[in-house]
């Protein structure tokens, strides 16, 4: 059984004081581990990274691209696609010509960040450079398997609508005859156009100075 403090010759007042003191130490230690961890992983890096300047080649998002970015978030694209290009030594990103390794400065206008943690589909950080064809994106978003057989990406038909004839601003999806509706056209809605504008705008191939590239690619644990 638990040994009582009376057995140890300690009176009740001291006992309560000691319990309080020990609890205090415990909670202090617990708090410290959390806060110091935050400081190391978030606080200090933030102080360092906030000194980074926007690269000359990076434009702010246009209104349409911002809107498209919110569609990207809404449809959960980040659960299958990443937006970070790794350097040599970390996979085949470079060998696949997905762009130069991304640096903190590239993300200066990104809120929320969309770095992603899954590559069910390829990295999209430079998809605008790799695949600038609007036509391809229209088809791909309407039904990925039209241009990418074997893909497991979901279709997004609600980003499109059916019309009798396309208006001057409309982007028509060039569907193959076998699945195109007869006498009608499929065009992208404003949301669809915005998402495609965002995707095609994803081009981070501009050069960055050595100062803003703070990754050291030669070290490996």
């Amino acid at each position: 059984m638990v040994r009582s403090s009376a057995d140890r010759g300690i009176n009740r007042g001291d006992q309560i004081g000691m319990m309080f003191f020990r609890s205090f130490i415990f909670f202090l230690g617990v708090l410290a581990t959390l806060l110091i961890g935050w400081a190391g992983l978030v606080g200090i890096p933030n102080m360092m990274i906030s000194e980074v300047q926007p690269p000359k080649g990076l434009e702010r998002y246009t209104y349409e691209q911002s809107f498209g970015r919110s569609i990207y978030i809404r449809e959960g694209c980040l659960y299958c696609h990443s937006q970070q290009v790794r350097p040599v030594g970390y996979g085949a990103d470079q060998a696949r010509f997905w762009g130069r390794p991304s640096v903190p400065a590239d993300y200066i206008y990104d809120k929320p960040h969309l770095l992603g943690t899954m590559r069910t589909g390829p990295d999209l950080f430079n998809i605008g450079a790799r695949q600038p064809s609007e036509e391809w994106h229209l088809l791909h978003l309407y039904n990925p398997r039209i241009v990418s057989p074997g893909s497991v990406m979901p279709p997004f038909p609600w980003l499109f609508e059916e019309k009798i004839t396309a208006g001057p601003e409309d982007k028509v999806v060039a569907l193959p005859d076998s699945i195109a509706p007869k006498g009608k056209v499929i065009v992208a809605t404003a949301e669809g156009r915005a998402l495609i504008a965002y995707l095609i705008g994803m081009n981070h191939t501009y050069p960055v100075s050595q100062a803003s590239a703070s990754n050291d690619t030669t070290k490996k644990k």
Binding site: G37, P112, R119, M153, P157
Partner: protein, 495 residues
């Protein structure tokens, strides 16, 4: 019945030499009675989210196998179902069932009736409202855009507030404790009471952007495991393993060391989710080092849990709680060692961005945490419902469906993910090859997920039975007096 009435004052301290009119069993039963309703509320709502979340998870898995399935409506697109699954199983099932277990455990370990139980009701309501609001928002496409932090701020606010009310009750109980020594499970519980509200609030402030926000995102997500979900699981395992076996923890002193090493190192792991990413190298290295250092507390826990069980494995045949909890504690060791290795750059080069990560995550939150929570429910419910589980065969079915399901899931995802990563890193292969290679493993994952869902349905069914005291009457360890008459005459409901 000579039952001592429960007053608001604490019982006579066991540390004094006063004559003990109250038997320990009476004390235990009364503590259990003080928490029956809140614990059942937490468990019931948690199990409700478990069913919903498992269904969402299975739907998401099937969409990998059949991408066109339910593909015509935006509400059910993969990109929305997936965060619905994650948030309901974590902030719904795991958090609520964990809270129920913690309430009961705190009463037992402090040897006092749980205080301020009104706060537990408030907490459960706010929390469930928060999760509900968050889930509905996700279906409609409102997503904050960060993994583990998808819920809109009002939902997060409700959850944080709910947690504070919960913490208030736990800490009030702690202050009225009738024990001198705090059992190791209480360290984890008390630490999480302080850690989680701070963590959750800081993460939802929204004051960062760019890659710093990414660092904050993964500091949060991994710390959520570190300061809430893992402590819940360890608190349970540290109690149920020795309690059910009837042997004290193997090296309790090691547990003390393990706790502080855990607190120190686990807080620094977060950036291992961004190995190779656009962050300062030193930051990533710090997290890799911390992830490997986790070896120390994990080994302390492993020694304690496994060496306590050693020599008593035949008890696994007889105790459902022990089966689930030992499975959970073994999964903890496995997933932690796996995680330490996964964080190394050479491993991460292949496994990062693949299904391997998903396999690892499920081994942790299902193989470890959920299995321990199942074991906890199987232990606690008879003692507060004063009714034994009516159908032991259903418990066995639940166990094998869950254990078999998660084993299939994790093995399929780890092997499939490794193959996926290897092919992704081979530039001579087109990207689609990495997708095609995983398809059979994704089918296996769906089978595993179906098994787990079946286990959960069985579990939920029997949970309802025990609340309503249905089914055959059986001997109950929690009855204040054994009532042979009722059982012998075949009555199915107690008075």
């Amino acid at each position: 019945m000579a039952v001592q009435t429960i007053t608001k004052e604490p019982f006579v301290s066991f540390a004094s030499d006063a004559a003990e009119d109250v038997s320990e069993k009476q004390v235990r039963v009364q503590i259990d009675e003080s928490v029956t309703s809140p614990v059942v509320l937490y468990f019931a709502t948690g199990i409700g989210w478990l069913l919903f979340g498992s269904l969402a998870g299975l739907a998401a898995a099937i969409k990998f196998n059949l991408p066109e399935w339910l593909g015509g409506t935006p509400f059910l697109t993969f990109g929305r179902i997936r965060p619905v699954h994650l948030n309901t199983v974590m902030y719904g099932w795991a958090s609520l069932a964990g809270a129920g277990m913690i309430v009961w455990l705190t009463g037992r370990l402090c040897r006092v009736a749980v205080q301020k139980t009104w706060a537990l009701y408030v907490s459960a309501i706010l929390w469930n409202l928060g999760v509900l609001f968050g889930v509905v928002s996700l279906f409609f496409g409102y997503n904050q855009g960060m993994e583990w932090l998808e819920f809109p701020r009002p939902a997060g606010g409700l959850i944080a507030l709910g947690f504070l009310f919960f913490a208030y009750s736990i800490i009030s109980t702690f202050r009225k404790r009738q024990v001198e020594h705090l059992y190791v499970s209480l360290w984890y519980i008390l630490a999480s009471m302080l850690w989680f509200p701070i963590l959750y609030t800081v993460a939802n402030l929204g004051i960062y952007d760019g890659v710093t926000e990414a660092a904050m995102n993964w500091w949060f997500a991994h710390n959520a495991l570190a300061v809430w979900f893992t402590p819940v699981g360890l608190a349970g395992a540290y109690y149920f393993i020795p309690k059910v076996i009837g042997r004290p923890i193997y090296s309790y002193y090691l547990g003390l060391l393990g706790f502080w090493a855990f607190a120190l190192f686990y807080n620094w792991n977060g950036i291992h989710h961004l190995v190779g990413g656009p962050l300062p190298t030193w930051l990533v290295t710090v997290s890799i080092v911390a992830s490997v250092m986790m070896f120390v507390p994990v080994m302390a826990v492993a020694v304690n849990h496994h060496l306590t069980t050693l020599g008593h494995f035949r008890m696994l045949k007889y105790s459902p709680t022990l089966r689930f909890v030992v499975f959970g504690s073994m999964s903890y060791t496995a997933v932690s060692l796996q995680g330490s290795i996964e964080s190394l750059r050479s491993f991460s080069e292949v496994a990062h961005f693949t299904h391997y990560t998903i396999g690892h995550a499920h081994l942790g939150v299902y193989g470890f945490l959920s299995m321990i929570l199942f074991g906890a429910v199987y232990y606690i419910m008879p003692r507060i419902a004063k009714w034994e589980w009516p159908y032991p065969k259903l418990i066995k079915l639940h166990f094998w469906m869950s254990a078999g399901g998660i084993a299939l899931y994790v093995i399929a995802m780890c092997i499939g993910g490794w193959i996926q990563g290897t092919m992704m890193n081979d530039p001579s292969l087109p990207f689609i090859a990495s997708v095609n290679a995983t398809k059979s493993y994704l089918w296996a994952r769906s089978v595993g997920g179906t098994m787990m869902l079946i286990g959960h349905l069985v579990f939920a069914y029997q949970f309802v039975l025990i609340i309503y005291r249905s089914g055959p009457a059986r001997y109950v360890p929690a009855w204040f007096e054994v009532r042979p008459t009722a059982a012998l005459t075949g009555e199915t409901k107690s008075a």
